[in-house]
Amino acid sequence: MSSLVLKMAWASLARRPTRSLLVVLMIAVSLWGLLLMQGIYDGMTEQMISNAIRSDAGHLSIFARGYRLDPSLDLLVEPEQGPAQEVAGGLGNEGPGLAASLAADPRVASHVVRLRQNGLVATSHYSRHAEIIGVELEGEQLQGRLADYLTTGKYDFGPKGKGAIIGHKLAAKLQVRLGGKIVVSAQDRAGELAGTALRVSGIIRTNNMGLDENAVFIDLARARGLLGVESGVSQLALLLAKGYGEEDLAALQGELRAGWPDLAVSRWDELYPALMQSRVLMRGFSLVVSGLVFGVAGLGIFGVMLVSVLERLREFGIMLAIGAGLNTIRKTILLESLLMGLAGFLAGALAGGLSLLYFRRFGLDLSVFSEALAEFGMDAVTYAIIRFSYFSEALAAVILATLVSVYFSLRVLGRSRPMAVINKG
């Protein structure tokens, strides 16, 4: 029987090919747009998150407790400090140090240390607030590929370590170019004003607003000298190795908190809550748009199926008269609309999937809006993301829209008696 039901459903669609094709096309185009939008929006969000993780937060950042409220040079992390444990006469910090533990942990791909201090950067004409960040370039490259963010200059502080890599917005505000002289000054650990003259060796664009507007990266050893800090760092950021996920991150965070209770161990989303909100917002926006798109698609199917049912009332009446139950007729109508919905889904999924593959490989170049995008921490070229869930959710939405849209048509039939239907038809 099912083959006959399928044949009748298919034949009914083929009876009005233009109308059926229009609905299929409507679903396909809606789905294509939806998939493209989801993939590109998610790509934008993930790029923003990736930028924040690579350029600053890592997957986990470790600070001295209280540092984030009061970023003082008195609140530093000692990378060589061992975990807290009971020793004779109380608590002690024996065992391998924090940095050594992280280096030995297979879950950790890399970690970097940074010494940070707020200060001033000045040229002969302008001065601005700056965040002086002492870094080890090799480690930063290994962790966040910082060199990839260079727009001009070299990824190098020079042989004497007198170079500085600064954010492109800061460079623009200071009107300083590559090789230009800058003076950075800040309060050192003793509370005295300290300063040093540097030359701009590189300018970076990370699309992390904080860094692009304020960052002055200098050699870690020079930063220590400038700020009078013999040991200790402000931040230790680490990246999780490939193959490890959310659960591993949470476990590692817990272990670090337990081992070093005097340190604050924060995930990237705790340091950049706006990015997490942005991810949630994008998801909500995407759901709303999905609802609208499939509302429209559902209305299309509803219109077509209602007309289709009304113009075939006589046929259904005959079926009822010769002994087909309402269920058989319902199955035929449902199958008919499902065939239409699934054809639209397949066409839309194919077009959307291929477009997403293209934009994942080549990116969507929005350079004309690069300044505006950068204000939101977005890259000028967005690389799309493809997730299986886009397709599974879309399929569920198509099926739901189909079922809801034929509900009223089925109700029209449900109230009918065979002869009344035949005579109406």
Binding site: L4, M8, R314, A321, G323, A324, R417
Partner: protein, 232 residues
């Protein structure tokens, strides 16, 4: 012979609006035995179609009872009536009413498929019945590719293929020329003889009426004549 179909006190009133009521059937009493070949005749509007619809459970009487093989039809749900029609009653309509998207073979096999009969058995039965009705060369054609007479023969094949106990035909020859009409009635008579199916059909064609073994005449919703003919 036991009574196969029994109608007692059947009234059917249609009320197109509040102030108008039409009595389509009035006090119809009728008993038909298994294997009879009955024609219901009468002028247009006499209630032939309404009576057939009530017998087949396609419509319900305003009052009265219909019993088919000891089963009381009045009071059955739509689902039960649908199952009854599927398993025990074959219909032939005046306007053929074949399903337009199915081939002649699929139309013939449709009710059997609904009954859950397997494909090989359906094939065998549709082949057998179409050979008897001379339509075996038309099985792969769609209804719109067939003439009126051919479509009506397919409709008859559909009605009897599922071996119903009762075949109801509402003016099956109305859209056929006299030759095709005579051939169709001969064929139905043969099926009645060979398959033992009870056949009740309506007509106002004297040539067709003359072929029936029992004639019921309706006038203004009442049975005015109910006679058996000896055709031997």
């Amino acid at each position: 012979m036991a009574v196969f179909l029994e109608l007692s006190g059947i009234n059917k009133k249609f009320q197109p609006d509040k102030e108008v009521a039409v009595l389509a059937l009035s006090g119809v009493e009728l008993a038909i035995d298994q294997g009879e070949f009955v024609v219901i005749s009468g002028p247009s509007g006499s209630g032939k179609t309404t009576l057939l619809n009530i017998i087949g459970g396609l419509d319900s009487p305003s009052s009265g009872e219909v019993r088919l093989a000891d089963l009381l039809l009045t009071g059955l749900s739509e689902r039960e009536l649908s199952r009854l029609r599927r398993d025990h009653i074959g219909f032939v309509f005046q306007a053929y009413n074949l399903l337009p998207v199915l081939t002649a073979r699929e139309n013939i096999e449709y009710v059997m498929r609904l009954q859950g009969v397997g494909e090989p058995e359906c094939r065998a039965r549709s082949g057998e019945i179409s050979a008897k009705l001379g339509i075996d060369s038309l099985l792969d054609k769609l209804p719109h590719q067939l003439s009126g007479g051919q479509q009506q023969r397919v409709a008859v094949a559909r009605a009897v293929a599922s071996t119903p106990k009762l075949v109801l035909a509402d003016e099956p020859t109305a859209n056929l020329d006299s030759k095709a009409a005579a051939a169709l009635i001969d064929m139905m008579e043969r099926l009645n003889d060979e398959e033992g199916v009870t056949i009740i059909f309506s007509s106002h064609d004297p040539m067709v009426i003359a072929k029936a073994r029992r004639s019921v005449v309706l006038h203004d919703g009442r049975i005015v004549t109910n006679v058996r003919h000896d055709l031997s």
